[in-house]
């Protein structure tokens, strides 16, 4: 699950992930989205289900990994995460509380990194790089291919660099853990 507020690209992140799994990893996947009536600013999420075989239920029931990019989304959607599941938060925006202790917590200052790279809008792609590394539902190669056909050509280089930053951070985080 990619959760945040409208305008952060949480649906795009889900779309890139679902497409990576379905087209480039040749698995089955579905993407659904949940949002309020406002186009921007309200808590929303996109849900990706990945499986080797045909998917019976397109919506997320209890996600094994959740990305949270806003405090409101954190309060609203966190209880849906599977106990012991992976929780990835954008630590430049979200402050976790004791609820996070039930999960495997990863913190990524994605928005801050994206701002340093000159474009706040690629925060979602920084996170995608991170997710690709820690979650085995989708491959890094698949995600890269999926980014290439989804983002406009003039922003591709920036997006691929943002993705790379995310994977590097994940490697560090995983190393620290082991």
């Amino acid at each position: 699950m990619f959760a945040g507020f409208g305008g952060q690209g949480v649906v795009t992140a889900g779309y890139i992930t679902g497409q990576a799994a379905a087209i480039y990893d040749d698995k089955e996947s579905t993407l659904t989205r949940v949002y309020g009536p406002e186009a921007r600013g309200s808590a929303c999420y996109s849900g990706v289900v990945v499986d080797e075989k045909e998917i019976d239920y397109p919506y997320l029931l209890s996600p094994e990994i959740m990305v949270v990019m806003s405090q409101e989304a954190y309060e609203k959607f966190l209880p849906q995460l599977l106990d012991g599941g992976m929780l990835v938060i954008d630590s430049s925006i979200v402050k976790p509380d004791e609820q996070a202790e039930k999960y495997k917590l990863f913190t990524v200052p994605a928005t801050q990194i994206a701002e340093e790279m000159g474009a706040r809008v690629v925060a979602n792609v920084v996170i995608l790089g991170f997710v690709g590394k820690i979650w085995d539902g989708v491959s890094i190669k698949g995600l890269q291919e999926s980014i290439k056909v989804t983002v406009p050509k003039r922003h591709l280089d920036l997006n691929l660099r943002a993705f790379e930053r995310g994977t590097e951070l994940a490697e560090k985080a995983l190393k620290k853990e082991s």
Partner: protein, 383 residues
């Protein structure tokens, strides 16, 4: 510039798959008015038509949209519109006109919570009976219901084929869940896709009677500009297309409009049966509910319950011969649907005296889960 047929693997939302399916089927006229959760179909077609040479018009409302489609179809263009409940209600009068004038058109209804403006962004299956008889009069119509983006793509093509073949408005009865979820869609090579075109007159123009049916009860259709004179009207008419409001003319026409569908039930009706050979309990589902229903049947089988699944791909005309046949074998039909009982009534009617029927109704805008359906199967199995 992209081609008309985008052969290959795609990750598409159901609504995009419908738009692409229409393009593949040869749709080159689209008239519509935006409405959640159907707008992406019009939006996508408005971008694609300039690439392939189609005409897209956003009209002032749904009444004008469907009227324009009828005209475009008479001019020879395969025509489509997309809408949701409130817009579908506005189209009902001219759906009847399409039935009476025998015009091939395709209407996509992306169902949302209702009545009235209801739940604009959430899913439902409440328009099933409206689709059957929403316009006035006694008529038969064709409606298909997809459960995924891939099936939405496939069935949109089939909708056009059926509309062309039977000269009738055909409805793709889909839903927010299918429209707004993305999945893998495989588009076959162009030469592997079967397309049907409307029958043309074989007689010289001076002998042509626009409403004289062939043996299959379907009259060949001359379109504007093809050298054939024709008259058409919403009034009861004779074979010339002239108004004829006698009892005999009305009886004959209304019978034919119905019989041209009823007589071809086996060609039109499509169902998918799974685990039915030894089933005591049949779960009858359609559209988005078919996926959790299939899973629930699998869960029941693991539990040793003899459950099977009947998925209705064709909603109208109703698969009465299928239900009738299985009613002799099964003890129970279980019908989960996202309304307060619509297809359930059809199943119950067909099963009467042979098997019992149970409705699992669901309102609220959320898709029912496999576990929820499974629980009901289990309860029934213990009766």
């Amino acid at each position: 510039m992209r081609k008309a047929v985008l052969t290959g693997k795609h990750f598409w939302y159901g609504n995009i798959a419908i738009a692409e399916g229409a393009i593949v089927a040869g749709c080159r006229f689209f008239a519509g008015y935006p409405i959640t959760p159907a707008s992406e179909i019009a939006e996508h077609i408005s971008r694609r038509f300039p690439e392939i040479g189609g005409t897209f018009v956003q009209f002032e409302d749904e009444l004008a949209s469907i009227a324009a489609m009828l005209g475009a179809s008479w001019a020879g263009a395969k025509s489509m519109t997309s809408t949701s409940g409130p817009g579908f209600s506005l189209m009902q009068e001219n759906i009847g006109l399409g039935v009476m004038m025998e015009v091939p058109i395709v209407i996509v209804n992306v169902q949302r919570g209702a009545p009235s403006t209801g739940l604009p962004t959430l899913t439902a299956q409440g328009d099933v009976m409206q689709t059957k008889w929403g316009s006035h009069g006694s008529y038969e119509i064709i409606a298909l219901s997809p459960d995924s983006p891939q099936e939405a793509f496939n069935l949109t093509i089939r909708c056009f084929n059926l509309a062309e073949k039977y000269r009738v408005p055909v409805i793709l009865l889909t839903s927010e869940t299918v429209g707004h979820s993305a999945g893998k869609v495989v588009v076959p090579p162009k030469d592997k896709i079967e397309l049907v075109q409307r029958k043309k007159p074989k007689v010289p123009p001076e002998d042509y009677l626009p409403y004289k049916p062939d043996e299959d009860l379907i009259p060949p259709m001359a379109c504007a500009g093809e050298g054939y004179a024709f008259t058409t009207t919403g009034l009861t008419h004779d074979e010339k297309g002239y108004p004829d409001t006698t009892a005999e003319a009305h009886e004959k026409l209304v019978r034919r409009l119905n019989d041209k569908i009823r007589r071809h039930l086996k060609d039109i009706v499509d169902v998918e049966e799974e685990n039915m050979e030894d089933a005591d309990i049949a779960v009858v589902s359609y559209g988005q509910v078919s996926r959790p229903a299939r899973k629930a049947v699998g869960m029941a089988r693991e539990d040793g319950i003899k459950a099977g699944s009947i998925k209705l791909i064709t909603i109208w005309p109703f698969a009465e011969h299928v239900i009738h046949r299985w009613a002799k074998q099964v003890e129970y039909f279980v019908v989960p649907e996202l309304n307060y009982g619509q297809i359930y009534l059809e199943v119950k009617r067909e099963a009467a005296g042979e098997a019992k029927s149970l409705l699992i109704p669901r309102m609220g805008g959320k898709l029912i889960t496999p576990t929820e359906i499974y629980r009901e199967i289990k309860k029934v199995s213990e009766k």
